[in-house]
Each structure stands twice: as structure tokens, then as C-alpha cells.
Symmetry: C2
Subunit: 102 residues, 2 copies
Amino acid sequence: MRYGYFGSMKAKPGQRDQVVKLLLRSAEGLSTAGCHHYVIGVSDDDEQTIWVNEVWDTREAHDASLRLPETRAAIAEAMPLLTGEFTSREITVLGGLGLPPE
Amino acid sequence: MRYGYFGSMKAKPGQRDQVVKLLLRSAEGLSTAGCHHYVIGVSDDDEQTIWVNEVWDTREAHDASLRLPETRAAIAEAMPLLTGEFTSREITVLGGLGLPPE
């Protein structure tokens, strides 16, 4: 069953755009790691929060991606720009539109 | 700029699977209405909540989809199965993986 990780992170004031850049850069390499969706968004009424919605082949593929050198480098670069406030929810993805057949 | 709608709804006890079926059925027709992602998921630790993450070409395409006869029929069918508790967040999608080029 596909694994979804729906979360948010909060950037320090003025750092949101830089964090978005880092996230977009890391997204590029994830398709070969079993990632189908990695959607990054912001809200007009919140200048610090960044939302990230991910859909992976499996939870294991997601967890393994966190150990990739490029992911670790992006996390290390982003962490000082973040307040440390995160939300996250792990989801079993049941289907929908925009995903290749299982 | 693409429009994201990240939300959840709560089904009455025992009705979650039926609501998921209705949502999956309505997802099928949305690609021609400007919808890129319509991901439906549930969580192991919550037997009533259903998460829906949508990415649309525009906010207008999303709003227009709510007026489609098939969407209205699905909403009418689902509403009696729901508790009325919803969460939602509107997002400006900045990019990521799993979306066609703009």
C-alpha cells in the first residue's frame, strides 16, 4: 500500500523562500527513490509555513530516502532556517488521481 | 499558479470505507476538469477521518468542479455519511515532483 506523508514546517522570518528552494532542489532526485508525489506549497495568509505532501511506493522507500546523501545535505542546509515547528501525518494512500497504477 | 486544497473529513462510525469509495469514484472524472492530483488516504490510528489532497491548475478550475453534476451527486451521497467535521487549507503550489510542467 502506498505511503503518504503530509506535513508542514515553519521557516524563520524571511527564510521561507530559501527553504522552498532547497525542497524543490531535493525533490528532483526522488523519483528514482520510489517517490510519486512531492508537492510543495505555501499559503497567502502565513509567511512562514511550508506544506509538503508526499506519496511514496512504500513507507520503507520514504524512510530510506532520508538516508540518501543528497537528502541529508538538504536537511542539514535547511535546519538552521527553520523554527523547529513541524506537523506531520502518516497516511495509507487508497488511490485517486495523478498516481500511476500499483 | 497551481492551487492546492489539503483537507480532511470525518465519516460517521462504520462509514469511512463507503465515503472512500464515493471519493475514488468522483476522482475518475476530474482530470478533464483541470485536476492533477486527488489523493485519498486514511490513517491506521483513526477509523473515521479521510484525508484528501488535491492539486488543480487553478483555483477557478477547483471551484468549477464543485458545480459539476457528478460532483454534486457524490457530495449529496456522501454528506449523510459524514459527521460534518472538516479541515481544509488552501495552498499555492510552488512545484515539486509528480506534476506536469506548467
